[in-house]
């Protein structure tokens, strides 16, 4: 029993191999971080929930399945793997959706998971997304979402208990013609039924070596937990650095809930004062790394925007006009134009966890140019926004099997990441180009990317060759370049609702004028 350790044993051979493994890490698929453990426990819990649907409260069965480690080590982060949330909507609930003229639904789930050790507690948000499904004309519907979940770290021995709590199901509803149906989106809030078995207990993971069962059958919590160290991600403001009792939820993974404010600060300050046209917003998303056949989470990042005026140039027959708007912005993190540091962990060769810490640094102005048109006859309006931003990818740390590897202080791409640019004469130089499109046909609501309200931005980027990587005589440039650099890497970023800081709106801004809306990364 005592031989079961959470951390994977490190061998000299792995260390020697690390240089080549390193290459595969950067921007790699985000898979459960850090320590894996022996004797995994497979959990498949069927839980009764009560969900608030448009027609009223309905009982809904929710299944949560995940692989937990049988045991973990204090101070080392671990993540439940293979997390799947299945929501079985009864026929009445489906009828509520079809009553909105919806024929399809794409679900995203946000499951609040309590993580407790003794009396100390923390809450993680397990996010999952699903492919679009067709709504049956009648009868029930099962929505299955999957997603990566935040790592958890306990600092001392004892049992960590994971308990399912409130569930929110975000539904994007589509009509038969592909346009949004009804309000376009619907959030169904669900709470655990009072008679839920084990009050929603999903699993108990023993920490340390002194507990009885390495397979980690649920047991009462043991001693006190602690703080982690894993993925700084969007939350590199550890807040209280003293020993905290509560288990630490690392938010290297998706965004974080608004209620928790699991978000980096996003504020105007004396160094960067606001104007009447100032907006701030969070963005987050994924980028594919084609060579690694994976995707990496781009962390929740703050953008400060000076929104330009919207101009109209009327059609010759006065039936409408062309719209245009030029805005400028910057990433902002602790006073610098960059994203927060973020991690991606990749199972190199399918079995060796290798972790890279990276940051995207902005090397020039960020611009947002929108163009479109509106019809005075039909009121149909459209606007396409192109966001351009020069970004260098810097790798700040590498770990193979938990062993840090000397990467040097200046490991980065030689040039900024760059996208195909349709108008290179007007927009020279290397930059990432992301495009968002919005359309509006009154009396319906607009859909797609809306300049001040956010939405999806997509693009394709080339990752240039790396330089300056390696230390102590070991040059890792070529390995990184060979493994990661290349064209055709799809990016999808989701921008949240902006806060117009000098037009305070409590529905859009926190009291201290940060963006209220924290977007969820979408694939």
């Amino acid at each position: 029993m005592r031989s079961h350790r959470a951390a994977v044993p490190r061998s000299p051979r792995i260390r020697a191999r690390s240089a080549s493994l390193t290459a595969c890490v950067v921007l790699a698929a985000l898979v459960p971080t850090a320590a894996s453990a022996t004797g995994a426990q497979e959990v498949d819990a069927e839980l009764p929930y009560v969900c608030a649907l448009p027609s009223g409260e309905l009982p809904v069965t929710v299944r949560v399945s995940a692989d937990f480690p049988g045991r973990a080590t204090p101070g080392e982060a671990f993540s439940p793997d293979g997390v799947t949330t299945t929501v079985e909507l009864p026929a009445e609930a489906v009828a509520d959706l079809t009553a909105l003229d919806a024929t399809t639904a794409r679900a995203a789930t946000r499951l609040g998971v309590g993580v407790t050790q003794n009396e100390a507690a923390a809450t993680a948000t397990w996010r999952g997304t699903a492919e679009q499904v067709a709504l049956p004309e009648s009868g029930p519907l099962t929505l299955t979402t999957t997603g990566d979940v935040p790592a958890v770290t306990g600092r001392s021995d004892g049992d960590l208990a994971f308990t399912a709590g409130a569930l929110a199901v975000d539904l994007a509803l589509g009509a038969a013609d592909g346009s949004p149906a009804g309000p376009g989106s619907l959030t169904v809030d669900c709470s655990l039924a009072e008679d839920a078995p084990g009050e929603g207990l999903l699993a108990t993971v023993p920490l340390g070596q002194d507990a009885a069962d390495p397979d980690g059958t649920p047991a009462p919590p043991g001693s006190s937990p602690g703080t982690p160290g894993a993925s700084p991600g969007p939350q590199d403001e550890p807040g209280d650095r003293r020993r905290e009792r509560a288990p630490e939820i690392a938010e290297g993974a998706p965004g974080g809930a608004a209620a928790d404010r699991d978000a980096p600060p996003c504020l105007y300050d004396d160094e960067h004062p606001s104007t009447s046209a100032s907006l701030n917003a969070y963005v987050t998303g994924y980028t594919n790394v084609k060579k690694l056949k994976g995707a990496s989470l781009l962390p929740l990042s703050c953008v400060l925007i000076e929104q330009g005026p919207t101009d109209i140039d009327f059609f010759p027959d006065f039936s409408g006009g062309y719209l245009s708007q030029h805005s400028e912005g910057t990433l902002r993190h602790q006073g610098r134009a960059q994203t927060p540091p973020f991690e991606a962990t990749f199972l190199t060769f399918g079995f060796t966890p290798t972790k890279a810490t990276m940051v995207l640094e902005q090397t020039g102005p960020m611009t947002m140019d929108a163009s479109g048109e509106t019809s005075f006859v039909t009121l149909a309006t459209s606007l396409e926004t192109r966001v351009r931003i020069p970004l260098v990818l810097r790798v700040t740390a590498l770990e193979v099997n938990g062993t840090p590897l000397a990467i040097g202080a200046n490991c980065r791409t030689q040039r900024p990441l760059h996208s195909p640019e349709p108008d290179p004469a007007k927009f020279p130089g290397d930059h990432v180009l992301l495009t968002g499109k919005g359309t509006h046909q009154p009396p319906d609501q607009p859909v797609g990317y809306l300049l001040s309200s956010g939405g999806p931005l997509t693009g394709e980027v080339t990752i240039p060759a790396f330089t300056g990587c390696g230390a102590g005589g070991e040059n890792l440039d070529r390995l990184l370049t060979a493994s990661v650099s290349g064209p055709g890497n799809y990016i999808k970023q989701t921008q949240g609702q902006t806060c117009a800081v000098q037009v305070f709106n409590p529905a859009e801004c926190t009291e201290d004028l940060q963006p209220l809306k924290i977007p969820v990364p979408e694939r």
Binding site: P309, T310, Q325, T381, T439, S452
Partner: protein, 211 residues
């Protein structure tokens, strides 16, 4: 030249709205006595989406109002006051191609009756004393004026369908950060239906007579 073009274009956009209103026949003698039953407080809830247009259209999926109504005399005559009106909520704000739109009304507004057709039970008039601050992102402007409307006794629907020129964009305060898309030359349009309910749950009736 460009300015003239703009004005013409906005007028053209409003033409469709104006056309619908002029179709109803007017009664021969203007009403001067207006009987509202029941009088007292009422609520109004949008029936279908509300569309506000200031060059660019904005859609509100929710809008509601409340106030009081009473019998009165004269022509035009204020038969009701709107003591509160909201466009959108935090959960479902009004939206446009430029993003969420916040509209904050300065009340009271009024409901003014001008013409009653006994055969149809339809009162023509307008929503008056309109004033609201509209914000979309960093663009902020103030709308003032009135909005032509009809009220139908049989359905209890107040159909607001303003025509070009009813509403204006204020020059004081002038629009901020809006560019040429919203200027003081812009003629906003306000369209949408509201279902009216008296406090006792019934549909109020407005009847105009000329004793």
């Amino acid at each position: 030249m460009k300015k003239n073009m703009r004005r013409f274009a906005v007028v053209a956009g409003a033409a469709a709205a104006a056309f619908g209103l002029t179709a109803a026949p007017a009664s021969a003698v203007p009403s001067t006595t207006w009987t509202v039953t029941p009088s007292g407080s009422y609520t109004a809830t949008n029936s279908g989406n509300i569309v506000l247009t200031a060059t660019i259209p904005m859609t509100c999926t929710t809008s509601s109002a409340s106030g009081t109504m009473a019998s009165t005399t004269g022509n035009p005559a204020t038969v009701a006051s709107i003591n509160a009106i909201n466009f959108g909520t935090a959960a479902s704000p009004c939206t446009s191609i430029l993003g969420n739109v916040t509209t904050v009304a300065t009340v009271p507004w009024t409901v003014v009756a001008q013409d009653y057709t006994a055969a149809t039970g339809v009162t023509k008039g307008y929503v008056g004393n309109v004033k609201a601050v509209v914000t979309a992102g960093a663009c902020k402007f103030t709308v003032t004026g009135k909005a032509s409307a009809t009220y139908t006794n049989s359905t209890g629907v107040l159909a607001v369908s303003s025509v070009s020129g009813d509403l204006a964009v204020s020059s004081s305060p002038a629009p901020v950060n809006c560019g040429s898309v919203v200027t003081t030359a812009t003629k906003p349009i306000f369209k949408g239906n509201y279902a009216i309910k008296a406090s006792n749950g019934t549909i109020p009736k407005i009847v105009g007579t000329n004793p």
